[in-house]
């Protein structure tokens, strides 16, 4: 009967070896529906088969961690009976194929992950990567993808009513055929209201809620687990369409249903839809779920069991209710105008049993789909992929102001206001520090505590050295939080890499994981969950292009609710202090900087060196300085180095600039633009006390100048390096992105 040929297996991304395992596990040939179920559950996206053994290296515990990896989101305690749930997920492949819907459903998916745990989403952030907007070949497409992705995020988040409070957006040739859309979401929940995605209680009804099931997204998970071809665009029907209004109703209804006490467990239907939710809920509860597909609300007639099980239609949830109390649940969903139907029952066997009009079409032992899923120790015994040389070109700048302008008007460093003003970043009236800051801050009204959050990634650093790059990312992410006065406490991460079957790519992944694990352990920010996105490669004209290895860290921190310390200088005649000092750079460590990229159009050497111990002390010092109310402004140094950070501190309606006098032996290009870590700029009326605090932590703390009205000037040992009206720089910085998007640059 069955026509499971090599070709069918290939289309399901199942290897011949994996198929042999399936035959052994079932002790028979799978039905076509079962094959589909295996293909999605064993896909890279759902099973993490290439990364799983390495993900174990991450620290996952601390005294604040309530829920680590393995659930829909990680949860940490924030005190006074409250907790936060947060996670990051990617929607890279769909966003390339259909930017608007791909990004929109990316937001939708991660929001469901949060509220399925009982937490109300209160913040979203996005890490975005696109190809260069001014590239002669791909620029037009890159601009179109950016516009689509941003409108998609805005559409979904704004309508749902969650503020999009920050993020990052970087441009690089390697993302031209493979943009990255990583969405982070965070929600708040009382401890006793936390829900888990676990089935329990034999005989309890299994209830389906939300949108009807259609054919959209059948095989999205397997699509996300293969590299791109130019024909990928033909997979457009694989991309789902999002309905944020439906999701908003689902949120309110689920939270209300949970309050009835009649809900036992609940899981959203994300990747692999009904398959994943039925199997995982059963598996987590060490029971099984039996459903009959005839009860599943369907959008169209004649859908096969295969299609129903694999559909990735959005805005659907599966829950287990207490037998006899179904009506309490149904009543809530009726109130919100949502479809809800009992589609099955919890059974004692740890098995997924799918019937269609009473006829069994799939019956698989749950552990076969989860625990027995293949785990690969892919070869990585080679140097991580890179072609960049260790030595860079010889160069001398003739005009530092022109260099600074080049940096400030580059896609990476220019103002992203054009993007974030499309996001409702204030809804729910909790955003005390919004987009454009080092970190976003959202207050928790109920507790007097605020949550700071930041997303960071740097593909160039990680390309030069995945291990050191990953450490730098974690350090910067923590530094961003400390710069606004928050103590970093926990992390999530999104690992965006190429094809893990190539050892040099796998080596990137392994080294980045190990670097990130080391740094997260060191900064005491355990990773409570996250996402791995592999096969981020595009085959264009016979050549396979992998993205730069792009791990993205999302770290959250805690601080008391208070008026935030922000980036811009506030008034003239204040001391400008460079906490952490001038830092160090040599020729090799300059090769990964934005200066090398934007001014020299080059990439070489190694990322900046970091002393984690020193970094930690710098961060402790700034937190103390802020806690004592001494910092009038605060901004960490990162991409573009000291000169860019200084310029950014000057950008405010008040046009307060600075007169800077440095005393350094570094060559001026390095002095102005190197990206050595562990440095924070602040302005203060009490540099003496700031100096005492810094000394207490063993941290350098030179006063490098004074704030002044209207101009930014930088001198080193009496040589004027640059001098400009602040307004000119500000205007160029503000207008750059729109110019780039108009194709004018």
């Amino acid at each position: 009967m069955s026509a499971i040929t090599a070709d069918v297996l290939a289309r399901h991304n199942i290897t011949p070896d994996e198929y042999q395992t399936i035959l052994k596990l079932l002790d028979r040939e799978p039905t076509f529906t079962e094959l589909g179920i295996f293909s999605v559950m064993w896909s890279e996206h759902c099973s993490y088969k290439s990364s799983r053994i390495h993900l174990k290296k991450f620290p996952t515990r601390s005294k604040l961690v309530v829920q680590g990896p393995g659930e829909n989101a990680g949860i940490i305690d924030i005190g006074q009976g409250y907790a936060i749930a947060f996670k990051i997920e990617s929607h890279n492949h769909p966003s390339f194929i259909e930017p608007f819907q791909g990004a929109a459903t990316g937001v939708g998916g991660i929001l469901r992950d949060i509220f399925t745990m009982g937490a109300r989403p209160i913040a979203v952030m996005d890490a975005l990567r696109f190809g260069p907007l001014d590239d002669p070949q791909t620029g037009a497409r890159n601009r179109r993808i950016l516009e689509g992705v941003v409108s998609g995020i805005a559409h979904y988040g704004n309508c749902f009513g969650v503020p999009t409070v920050g993020g990052e957006c970087v441009f690089e040739t390697s993302y031209a055929g493979n943009p990255l859309v990583n969405v982070f979401a965070l929600g708040v929940v009382r401890h006793e209201d936390i829900f888990y995605a676990k089935a329990a209680g034999v005989g309890n009804p299994v209830i389906y809620v939300g949108a009807k099931t259609g054919k959209d997204g059948v095989h999205g998970a397997t699509m996300a687990s293969a590299e791109f071809t130019e024909e990928s665009a033909a997979k457009r029907p694989n991309v789902q369409v999002g309905d944020p209004f439906m999701e908003k109703l689902l949120l309110e209804a689920c939270i209300e249903a949970m309050k009835t006490g009649a809900v036992v467990g609940i899981q959203d239907m994300g990747a692999a839809g009904l398959t994943c939710s039925t199997c995982e809920m059963g598996s987590r509860g060490n029971v099984g779920v039996e459903i009959d597909l005839m009860h599943v609300p369907q959008r169209e007639k004649g859908m096969s069991p295969y299609e129903i099980m694999l559909s990735e239609s959005q805005e659907r949830m599966l829950l287990v209710a207490e037998k006899g109390r179904e009506n309490e649940v149904f009543e809530v969903f009726r109130k919100w105008g949502l479809d809800a139907a009992t589609i099955g029952v919890v059974i004692p066997e740890n098995t997924l049993r799918v019937k269609d009009h009473g006829v069994v079409v799939a019956e698989i032992h749950n552990p076969a789909l989860t625990d027995a899923a293949p785990v690969y120790d892919r070869p990585h015994d080679t140097a991580p992929y890179r072609t960049a040389p260790m030595q860079g070109p010889t160069f001398t700048s003739t005009d530092f102001l022109a260099d600074l302008t080049t940096l400030l008007t580059s896609g990476d460093l220019c103002s992203k206001r054009y993007i974030w003003r499309q996001y409702d970043y204030m809804v729910r009236t909790n955003t005390t520090l919004g987009p454009g800051a080092d970190a976003a801050i959202v207050r928790i009204k109920e507790t007097g505590t605020s949550i700071a959050m930041s997303l960071d990634g740097n593909g160039r650093y990680c390309y030069l050295s995945p291990r050191e790059g990953a450490k730098l990312i974690v350090a910067e992410c923590c530094r961003n939080l400390s710069t606004v006065g928050a103590l970093p406490v926990a992390a999530t991460n999104n690992l965006n890499f190429g094809n893990p079957e190539r050892p040099e790519i796998m080596a990137q992944l392994v080294e980045a994981i190990e670097g990130m694990a080391e740094a997260c352990t060191f900064f005491e920010t355990p990773i409570t969950g996250g996402n791995v996105s592999l096969y981020n490669e595009t085959r264009a004209g016979g050549e396979l292009v992998a993205i730069f290895p792009t791990p993205v860290a999302g770290i959250v921190g805690l601080l008391p609710t208070q008026a935030p310390v922000t980036m811009p200088f506030k008034m003239a005649d204040r001391d400008v202090v460079l906490l952490g000092g001038i830092g160090f750079c040599d020729d090799a460590q300059f090769g990964g900087t934005e200066y090398a990229k934007q001014v020299l159009d080059d990439l070489w050497g190694m990322p900046p060196a970091i002393d984690l111990e020193y970094e930690k002390r710098v961060q402790a010092a700034i937190r103390r300085i802020i806690a004592e109310g001494l910092a009038e402004s605060s901004h960490d140094l990162s991409d573009g180095g000291l000169a860019v950070a200084l310029a950014e501190c000057c950008f405010s309606p008040g046009n307060i600039g600075a007169s800077i006098m440095l005393d350094s032996g570094l060559r001026p290009e390095h002095l102005l633009f190197h990206e050595g870590p562990s440095r924070i700029l602040l302005s203060t009326a009490d540099a003496v006390r700031v100096g005492e605090i810094a000394a207490g932590f063993g941290v350098e703390c030179p006063v490098i100048g004074k704030t002044v009205e209207g101009r930014l000037s930088i001198r080193n040992r009496d040589i004027l390096l640059l001098d400009s009206p602040v307004e000119t720089l500000n205007q160029q910085w503000e207008e750059a992105l729109e110019n780039l998007l108009q194709g004018a640059a």
Binding site: C159, P244, Y423, V427, T429
Partner: protein, 224 residues
């Protein structure tokens, strides 16, 4: 004196409005469910921002037909205070309680930003506590906030002193910089900016309190 905040499916500034009334203004408030034909015991109604019924068809077009709007119309006809904010303003124009329409922003993008507003008239229960000509900083967050109406209506609004707020730097292309208007009876307000988002110093501005305080003050006078 009680405020009622209507909750439509898709309202997402309902809680913000409730919070600003109860915590920042310090008056009682309750939620009113869209499916009810009664307002109950409230003295003022807020139609909050959001995407009522998904804003399908047209912003506010479906909310117009909800059961609660019957009660709101009657309440308004009897002189009750009704404030429509953002999506609430769109609903009020769809209902015909206020003239004109809100169309896509010039530039076609959603805009979220604090904007400058000039308080144009204190002759209303929504602005009576303010000063004419006062500049307020209050956020907008909308994709369809470009106010448009026939010239005749715009002239009428101005002649009758019914333009309560104007943008100091028009963000969305609204006719004659109009950000907020009232009805001829001066008891129904529609404004695109979100005063409820500017009622707490931590949110960067408390300028929006003037609207809530005015409502509270005029209700207090009224009930004497």
């Amino acid at each position: 004196m009680r405020f009622g905040v209507v909750v439509f499916p898709g309202s997402n500034c309902d809680h913000d409005a409730w919070y600003s009334v109860t915590h920042n203004l310090g008056r009682p408030a309750e939620f009113l469910w869209h499916d009810s034909e009664r307002l109950g015991d409230v003295d003022a109604v807020i139609l909050p921002g959001g995407f009522s019924y998904g804003d399908y068809l047209r912003c506010g077009a479906i909310a117009k037909f909800s059961p609660i709007m019957k009660a709101v119309r009657k309440f308004a006809a009897d002189g009750g205070l009704v404030a429509g904010i953002c999506n609430g303003f769109q609903i009020l124009t769809e209902c015909g309680l206020l003239p004109g329409a809100l169309i896509r922003n010039r530039g076609l993008k959603f805009i979220c930003a604090p904007v400058g507003l000039r308080l144009e008239s204190t002759n209303s229960p929504f602005t009576c506590s303010g000063k004419k000509g006062q500049i307020l900083t209050i956020p907008i967050a909308h994709g369809e906030g470009c106010y448009t109406a026939e010239e005749r209506i715009l002239d009428e609004l101005e002649a009758e002193d019914r333009v309560l707020f104007r943008y100091t730097n028009n963000p969305n292309g609204s006719a004659r910089d109009i950000a907020g208007i009232c009805n001829p009876g001066r008891n129904v307000l529609g404004m695109m900016p979100h005063p409820e988002r500017a009622t707490d110093p931590l949110m960067g501005s408390t300028d929006g309190l003037v609207v809530l305080q005015s409502m509270a003050a005029s209700l207090t006078v009224h009930s004497r």
